[in-house]
Each structure stands twice: as structure tokens, then as C-alpha cells.
């Protein structure tokens, strides 16, 4: 059977690549969602997000390695544990700095990210770990079921919980990533810069923006990998520059 090549490549390859773009987009969306929620309510630019994502993946690996806990329980347990860690971080550090300039939050969370990443690197090296507990039914497929509701409740306790929830989202993305990518202490810093670009493009604090631009940029990056792979790690920043020039508050952001 002869198929007409579309844009110079066969359609089945193109659609395969589009699907991959959506998968990566889902990770971007999930991580940037957590970031957007945290920024929207707490006004904190959470640079530790990548490290917490990495902790989620390592949580799943550690549970498998030492406790024999499989993928599905880990998908619940690891985010809960890392989320609880997030609550501790908020209680211990972050709640002291809400009234200060954004820069303080950025520096604090950046420092936390370096400490967390450094600890994992020290104990597990940079090459990473193999996570073998992939359920057969999950190979190649991901189920992202989210409910968006009532994020606007402004009670003080909600703040802590919001941070915990945003962090748990990062950890959940980490567990989802564990069987697909390699579980390595560097995995967080590899992805966090991109995710920040996604959040900026979507509009800081905009939940819809985070999701839409996450998927959109996943697709754009996927296509770049086919047509000009050398630029695949920069294309998102090119898009970011263009969006910021045209619409400084981001695609879905409210101008300040």
C-alpha cells in the first residue's frame, strides 16, 4: 500500500511523532499545572519543582527496590509522601517569605532544589536507576484524569495544602515518568527550565494556560525533533521569546 507522504514524511511516522509530542506535553502540562497553582495562590516561583518531580520518581523506585511496592500503589503513595514533604517545606520555610519580593522565594526554592538534587546525586550517582515495574497495560499509554475545581478558597490552611498539592502533582508526574524516562537525580533539572518556559508562555498563575501551553509546546517540540532535531531543546525558548514580545503577560495571563 502506498501512502502519500505528508510534509515529506509518511503519515504513520508523523502521527507517531504527534502522539509523542502529546505525551511529553502531558508531562509539561502536569508540572506546569502544579507550578501555576503554587504561583497563583502563594505567589511563590517554585524552583524546587523539578527536584520534587525527581523525588516522586525516586520514591517509586525506592518503594519497588526496598519494599516491593508496585507501580499502582506507588502512583498514590509516592505523591502523598512527597506532598507531605512539601507541606513540611512550606511550614518550615516558605510561609515566612510570602510578603517579600518574588526573588526571595525563587532563591530559597532554588537552594532547596540544589540541596535535594545534591543529596540524591551523592547517594545514587548521576547515571540513574532502572525502574522495571511497568504494568503491561500502561505501555505507551497515559491516563491523565484531573478535576479542576474550587482553587480560589482563601483560608490560611489552604495555602499549606496548596503547596502540598502542587508538589504532589510534581511527584505524580515523577512516578509517571519513572518507567518512561530514566530515574536519575538530574531528571528534575533537565525538565524544570522547560516547564518554567511553559508556565511563562501560558501566563503565570493561569491554570488553563499551563495545560494548553503544556500540550501545545509538547507538540511543537515533537515536530522540531522530526524536522530540525538540533533545535529541539531550544524551540520552546524561541516560542517563549515570541510570546513575550507579542503578549508580555503570556497567552492566558492577566496583564498586571
Amino acid at each position: 500500500m502506498y501512502v502519500i507522504p505528508l510534509l515529506g514524511i509518511p503519515p504513520q511516522v508523523l502521527f507517531g511523532q504527534l502522539l509523542l509530542g502529546l505525551i511529553n506535553g502531558a508531562f509539561y502540562a502536569m508540572l506546569s499545572l502544579g507550578l501555576a497553582v503554587i504561583f497563583g495562590l502563594l505567589n511563590i516561583i517554585n524552583f524546587a519543582h523539578g527536584a520534587l518531580y525527581m523525588m516522586g520518581a525516586f520514591g517509586a523506585w525506592l518503594m519497588l527496590e526496598y519494599l516491593g511496592i508496585g507501580y499502582w500503589p506507588a502512583l498514590i503513595l509516592s505523591p502523598i509522601l512527597v506532598g507531605a514533604f512539601g507541606v513540611l517545606l512550606e511550614k518550615a520555610f516558605l510561609h515566612r517569605i510570602y510578603k517579600l519580593d518574588h526573588l526571595y522565594g525563587l532563591l530559597l526554592t532554588f537552594g532547596l532544589a540544589l540541596i535535594i538534587e545534591g543529596l540524591f546525586r551523592n547517594y545514587y550517582g548521576v547515571s540513574g536507576q532502572a525502574y522495571d515495574a511497568v504494568p503491561d497495560m500502561l505501555k505507551g499509554g497515559y491516563n491523565l484524569g484531573f478535576m479542576f475545581q474550587a482553587f480560589g478558597i482563601n483560608v490560611p490552611r489552604m495555602i499549606t495544602l496548596t503547596y502540598g498539592f502542587g508538589v504532589a502533582l510534581a511527584a505524580m508526574a515523577g512516578v509517571l515518568a519513572a518507567p518512561i524516562y530514566h530515574v536519575s537525580p538530574l531528571m528534575g533539572s533537565d525538565i524544570i527550565i522547560v516547564v518554567f518556559a511553559v508556565v511563562v508562555i501560558g501566563g503565570m498563575g493561569s491554570i488553563v494556560g499551563a495545560v494548553v501551553s503544556g500540550f501545545g509546546l509538547g507538540l511543537i517540540e515533537g515536530m522540531t525533533k522530526v524536522f530540525y532535531p538540533e533545535a529541539s531543546n531550544t524551540v520552546i525558548f524561541v516560542v517563549m521569546a515570541i510570546v513575550l514580545l507579542v503578549k508580555p503577560a503570556g497567552l492566558f495571563g492577566k496583564s498586571a
Binding site: G16, V126, S189, I193, S232
Partner: protein
């Protein structure tokens, strides 16, 4: 773009300024280990490389003719500008006599130029680009452990000859990956194979699935991975998930280190053929060294770390023989003496800086063949030095022509 980049830079600056103060002591022989301490190549060189250098210094008695031997180290962060900055500071202000390792070909080629300009010795163990001793060769640069020419001949040649005659490359988009792809493509074509295409992936790509699908669609019999470290690990792992190997295509890891196999696990890595110049479990001598290394570092040494030991040993013996750290005298002595240690047998340092040595083609064991942790390779064949060294007549290095 790494987060730790900033902190590492601060640490390097702090380290460097600390060194300046202690540098004034005259009669110390100072060795600098410049490698990747925090990025994708940390496990294959990193702190283990520094310790291998220290082991060689300890074995030399810690001093030569009453002159103390000192070891300093720094993180080049896989950035040529950071690497050359440290190299300049070491050579100019800190009185470092020779620099070792320099994992990452991009950094290595830049440091090669600094060493040439300052006329100081640099001995590469970590980087792979064969350009280091070809068009970019230097009278004071030594390429000790392996190069892309040898890898291409070893792994590329073996696979092409056993029927893998059409190739698609997934290449790390910088000096090393491009050199490895070029050298391997030459071997494939020379042995009657065809190259169907290639894709250039940026260094430290977290997701190779797109590139793997392109490789799959090319219908090539062999997918050549012209990358290293974390990139190789990710591509092999994801290739297993996409069922590329079970679908009939063969993966050729053109540069795979022991640390990569340890991270992948035998279930994923089994059957992979690879070329190295050292494996810890080759004979009593390699086992003896590796046992010592293991006790100190809690892991078996890679060929890069073992090579660092050998390079420092050979350097210090030359310094002792000529009673000086003068680069020209030491280079001449290193060229004159045959290289013999636990890893290298009858090696020779050629005029272009290449260490002429045997390499080994290994195959990764199946999980049931392995007796335990780190029991990963079985020897397929020893490859004589002549097969894995660029012949003098094919070399573009002017240093080989003048004699």
C-alpha cells in the same frame, strides 16, 4: 542550563582561589584532574577519576626525589569556556604541571589548545574524539584510553561484518558524537555497508523516543548510538520500551561504559556489544587494582578511571627518569618508554599523542549468566592495536610527517 551549574561555578571559583594561596610552594609536582563532577559523565569519570589519580600518586610514594606530589581537581561542567578558564588558571597561576582526564571532547579540544599555547602537558582519558590526535594533535597532548576511531573499528566493524550492513545513527550533537558518527560511518562503508540516515540529538536529551521512532522508520538493520553516558542509557532504555530490538533492529552502543550497564541493568542491556580498553574482571592484575578501587569508591572502575591511573603512573615515571617536570623532556621520556601496567600491555605513545594499545570487544551477559553485581561482560575478542589505531598514512597530524 543546569541548576547546579551556578553552584558548581561558585564552588570552582572558591576552590580555585583557595589554590592560588597554596600555589607558591616551589618544589611540588602538581597534577590537575579536570572532569565532569556533576553532569552526565560524573559516574564514568568524576570523583572516581580523582581517586584513581590519587592512587597512582600514592603508589609512586607521594613524592619524587623529595618533591611532594599534589593533586587538585575541578568541575568543567561540560562547558569548554569553564574548562579553559580553569586550565589557564592552573597552568598560569597555580603551577599545575599536567592536567588529566578532561571527559567531554568539546572541553578536551578547547583545553588541548590552552595546553599547546602554554606548552604544558595534558593527558586525556575521558574524551573520545579522534580529532585530538588527528587534525588537532599537539606535541604536549596525550590521548590515553580510547578514541572514536578505535570504537568505530571495534564495535562498528564487528557488527557490519556479522551482517548489520545498513545503519541509522542517533548522534550527540557536539564534537564527540559527530566524530564517532563520522568514524563509524567510514568503517561501515568500507566494509560494504550503507548509512541510511542520522539524527542529531542535543546533549543530555531527557527523551529519545522521537529519535528512536525516526530510526525505526528508517528500516535500518542497525541503530548506531553515537552518544555517551546518560544519553546512551536513556536511548537504550527507551529503545527497549519501544520494542525496537524485539522488532528485529539491532542496537549498537558505540561508546558504552561499565557504569552505563550498571545503571541499565542486564535485563535491558543484555546482548549489547561494546568496545573498551579495560574491564575490571579481565585477569588477576585488573582484579587486584579494581579490588583496591572498589574498597575506596564502592564501585568497579570504568576504563576512563583505570586509564587515569595508568596515565599518571607513566607521567610520574617519566618525571622520575628525567628528574624534571620540563614538558619536552617528560614527553620525550614518555614516548621512549613502553607502557606496561595492569591495564596496558606493551602500549606505546606515538608522536601524534595517541597511545597505541589493544582494545577488547565485549558482549553484555544475560541476567542468568551473571554471578552478581558488576559481573556484566564476556570477552568476544581482543582487538590488536594495529586494527584500532589510525594508520600513520591516513593521519592528518603534521607531527607524524616530519620524521
Amino acid at each position: 542550563m543546569r541548576l547546579q551549574g551556578i553552584s558548581a561555578l561558585l564552588a570552582a571559583t572558591a576552590l580555585a582561589s583557595g589554590l592560588t594561596m597554596s600555589a607558591a610552594m616551589a618544589d611540588t609536582i602538581k597534577l590537575g584532574v579536570l572532569d565532569d563532577m556533576s553532569g552526565v559523565y560524573t559516574d564514568l569519570s568524576g570523583p572516581g577519576a580523582v581517586d584513581a589519580v590519587k592512587m597512582a600518586v600514592e603508589d609512586a610514594g607521594g613524592s619524587i626525589n623529595g618533591n611532594k606530589i599534589e593533586v587538585v581537581s575541578a568541575d568543567h561542567q561540560n562547558k569548554p569556556d569553564v574548562g579553559t578558564g580553569i586550565a589557564r588558571q592552573w597552568y598560569d597561576q597555580d603551577h599545575v604541571d599536567a592536567i588529566f582526564d578532561v571527559a567531554n571532547s568539546g572541553v578536551a579540544l578547547a583545553v588541548q589548545e590552552v595546553a599547546r599555547e602554554k606548552h604544558k602537558i595534558v593527558m586525556f582519558s575521558g574524551p573520545g574524539s579522534s580529532d585530538i590526535t588527528n587534525s588537532k594533535c599537539s606535541p604536549v597532548g596525550v590521548h590515553w584510553t580510547y578514541d572514536t576511531y578505535g570504537l568505530a573499528k571495534g564495535t562498528g566493524g564487528a557488527i557490519t561484518k556479522s551482517g548489520g550492513d545498513s545503519w541509522f545513527f542517533i548522534t550527540a550533537d557536539y564534537a564527540f558524537g559527530q566524530a564517532l558518527e563520522r568514524d563509524t560511518a567510514a568503517v561501515v562503508t568500507a566494509d560494504g555497508g550503507k548509512v541510511l540516515g542520522e539524527v542529531r540529538a542535543p546533549l543530555s536529551t531527557p527523551d529519545f523516543s522521537s529519535f528512536l521512532l525516526q530510526a525505526q522508520a528508517s528500516k535500518a538493520k542497525v541503530i548506531g548510538l553515537a552518544n555517551a553516558g546518560g544519553d546512551t542509557v536513556t536511548s537504550i532504555k527507551q529503545a527497549a520500551e519501544f520494542g525496537i530490538v524485539s522488532g528485529g533492529q539491532k542496537l549498537a552502543g558505540l561508546l558504552v561504559f561499565l557504569s552505563d550497564i550498571n545503571s541499565l541493568g542486564l535485563k535491558t542491556a543484555q546482548g549489547l556489544q561494546l568496545t573498551e580498553s579495560f574491564y575490571w574482571d579481565q585477569n588477576d592484575e585488573t582484579r587486584a587494582f579494581s579490588k583496591r578501587f572498589f574498597e575506596r569508591n564502592k564501585k568497579e572502575p570504568t576504563m576512563v578511571q583505570a586509564g587515569d591511573y595508568g596515565a599518571v603512573k607513566h607521567y610520574l615515571e617519566a618525571v622520575k627518569a628525567v628528574g624534571s617536570t620540563d614538558p619536552d623532556k617528560v614527553m620525550a621520556a614518555m614516548r621512549a618508554a613502553p607502557i606496561n601496567d595492569f591495564m596496558t600491555k606493551n602500549g606505546k605513545l606515538r608522536e601524534d599523542g595517541k597511545v597505541v594499545r589493544d582494545m577488547y570487544l565485549f558482549e553484555v551477559k544475560k541476567p542468568e549468566e551473571s554471578k552478581g553485581p558488576w559481573d556484566y561482560y564476556k570477552l568476544v575478542r581482543s582487538i590488536p592495536a594495529a586494527e584500532v589505531t589510525r594508520p600513520v598514512e591516513e593521519s592528518a597530524c603534521p607531527l607524524l610527517k616530519k620524521g
